[in-house]
Amino acid sequence: MNRIVLLMETGRAATLEAASWFAAHGDRVYLGARTMPEQIPNGVQGLVFDPLCAESLEEAVKTVEAESGRLDIFVTGVPSHPKDGEIGTGHDDAEMLDTLMRNVYGSRIVIEAFLPLLRRGMKRIAAITEIESSNSWSTGRDDLAYHTSLAGLNMMGKILFNHLRPEGFTFRWYCDDGVPGGMCAGDYITSGLCYDEKEPYIHSDENRLTMRDAYLREISW
């Protein structure tokens, strides 16, 4: 398809699988992270940068611009997952704050930095997240830093949606929960959400931000 795709986060298997999926479909795929694992999927280009370092982020944007001229799809995620347990077990406040900053603020800053390139492409912003990011559905107790930042990322997506949808941006929020079968992240992120061409456009899911799993089940926020 020759789309230009940038996926952030290397710690989630579904993100790496999505990178492979895009590459297998003929897209130019960048995998962005502060550090790159030794092995990344074939056909995927590592893009090492620190979202919280302005110079490093600027360099990454310049690289994609010089090599590809635009960005079609940006896929975000939360890169940091400390194991900080339940309430009442003691928490490293500094680590929790750093996690929120890296996962929520950092994700927003990267998207904003790449917006000029996204405006030249197909204008799609996506996230690969999980059901435990849902304030309504979450059933877990532990890892407060990680889960508060997952929830924060959802709100960041909603604010971006409100801001950018009028410009023509489209959004895909995909829940990866290891359910066998169904739609993989790449499939969902590239899917059209106008189910019936005869229906008015306003009836489609493009005009509201939804979070869905591999079987297209809508996950409450």
Binding site: S136, R141, M155, M156
Partner: protein, 228 residues
């Protein structure tokens, strides 16, 4: 006499809650962030035995530790902890960090350090949140730091609830409405409610038992339910 600890008690909803709990006959321990702000000192003169004012910066672990230690000397247990301290304004790195540190980490610090004082008594935790943290009804197209901080706070409370409710704790998650508050530094001239109005409903909700304490809900100043 029941004891309540209130953060962000200097002014706005936090101060109004102090006034209301004193009126209701509670022993109030007010967390004071701004010693130069005169309202709490005047309230202390009016209620010398019922009100204790402690220095408290929920953004500082050392300050919260110190406040918990001082509280332990003032009472044998705390019935109700009200996390009211909150700030807003700005999306820069520094502003975002400050907002997360107070609005999210502040609640974590308070609960972690005050839980040992809450093993008996009412065992109730109350958090002043906002509709701004509700993703499903978010209509804003800016204000990333504040909105994401409130969504994160709601997730935090959700997970605390899962851990602590089976141990007998009860929870209140409260959206005070659009209050003419001091959230951005100066008292706002716009809004739908005065702090005293938001505090009046909060007092009733925070002090009244519910039939269903095994479900976490967010309620507002009009007693309506909100998705969170």
């Amino acid at each position: 006499m029941k004891t309540v600890v209130i953060t962000g008690a200097d002014r706005g909803v936090g101060y109004a809650l102090c006034e209301r709990f004193l009126e209701g006959g509670w022993h109030v321990i007010a967390g004071q962030f701004m010693p130069d702000w005169p309202q709490l000192a005047a309230l202390k003169e009016k209620h010398p035995k019922q009100l204790d004012v402690l220095p408290l910066d929920v953004g500082s672990t050392a300050s919260v530790e110190s406040a918990a230690a001082q509280t332990a000397k003032l009472c044998d247990h705390v019935d109700l902890l009200v996390s009211c301290a909150g700030i807003a304004g700005g999306d820069t790195y520094e502003k975002t960090r400050a907002i997360y540190n107070v609005n999210v980490l502040g609640a974590v610090r308070m609960v972690e350090h005050f839980l040992p004082l809450m093993q008996t008594g009412l065992k109730r935790l109350a958090f002043v949140s906002s509709e701004a943290g509700s993703v499903s009804v978010a209509h804003r197209d800016g204000g990333f730091a504040y909105t994401t901080s409130k969504t994160a706070l709601n997730m935090l409370v959700r997970r605390m609830f899962r851990t602590l409710q089976p141990q007998g704790y009860t929870f209140r998650l409260y959206h005070p409405g659009w209050v003419r508050s001091y959230m951005s530094g100066q008292k706002s001239t716009i809004g739908n409610f005065e702090p005293e109005e938001a505090a009046e409903t909060a007092y009733r909700q925070f002090t009244t038992d519910r039939e269903a304490e095994d479900v976490l809900v967010m309620t507002d100043v009009s007693d309506e339910l909100w998705p969170y």
